[in-house]
Amino acid sequence: MAGKPEIVHETIRVERLFKAAPERVFAAWEDSDARRRWEPTPEDMEMDYESFDFRAGGYEKSHLKKNGEVIVSFDTWFIDIVPASRIVSAVRVISNSAAFSCMQSTIDFRPEGTGTRLVCCEQAAFMTGQSMRSAHENGWGVMLDRLEKEVDG
């Protein structure tokens, strides 16, 4: 086991205030067409969803592809979903047939005025021993930008 990297654990928090009400923000997850629009995909790549299964106990598999070739695959389990209030999920990220990170995230919808404060917390384990904190923080930022465009116009 010489050279086995020490797993790195991180907690990443981001939040954003939306003009839209919690029901409207939540609807952006419920509607699979909406998710295809706003869920972030890096430039010149495409997200291939094998299925949508947005419900408590649901499981989804998706792949990020570049020129038709799979770069990374995601296994997502929805652990708890409370409409307009909370989404709890676990994700395993696989690249080159090796798992390189495992995460769980809690998205908390908090009514604020007529809008929504979305508080996202991701707990991650990076198996390769390299922290992906800044990439993940950046990913959440892009996601929230796109979600804002989707629900606030």
Partner: protein, 150 residues
């Protein structure tokens, strides 16, 4: 109630080799004994499929009681004998109490024994007390494991 997040990082050395530690995890009857955080608590593993992508269900509660607590595990990554990573959901009836991303990072020590780095990244939906419960629970579990491997 707002979710509360915590990270519990524990490290412990064992004289036993990694393979023995992994076997103690893999054996449901053995794990029922060492994973009970106190002698008043009973753990019953109903089904276990310890492999990458496998799952597990268990019930626990005060000894002799109705075993109201249910744990559901999704194994993210299992590499014998060096790594076990999973998400554990804990419910009391319908109420979700905690969700935890738990990593057993099992490293062979220079003396042939084992260094276990146990990290519990927990989210509680029932307040800070359940995070403290995980902290005390896993400290006790590692004590039990040391006894089981001695």
């Amino acid at each position: 109630m707002r979710p509360v997040h915590g990270t519990i990082a524990l490290e412990r050395s064992f004289a036993a080799a990694p393979e023995r530690l992994f076997s103690a995890f893999a054996d449901p009857r053995a794990r029922e004994r060492w994973s009970a955080p106190s002698t008043d608590v009973e753990v019953r593993i109903l089904e276990s499929d310890l492999r990458t992508g496998g799952g597990e269900t268990a019930r626990c509660g005060p000894k002799g009681g109705p075993m109201n607590w249910e744990t559901r595990i999704s194994y993210h990554l299992v590499e014998r004998p060096s790594l076990i990573s999973f998400t554990e959901e804990l419910r009391d009836g319908e109420q979700l109490l905690t969700v935890a991303l738990i990593t057993f990072d099992i490293v062979e020590a220079d003396n042939g024994g084992t260094i276990l780095r146990l990290t519990d990244q927990v989210t509680s939906f029932v307040g800070e007390g359940a995070v403290q419960g995980h902290r005390e629970g896993y400290a006790a579990v590692l004590e039990n494991l040391a006894v089981a491997l001695a």
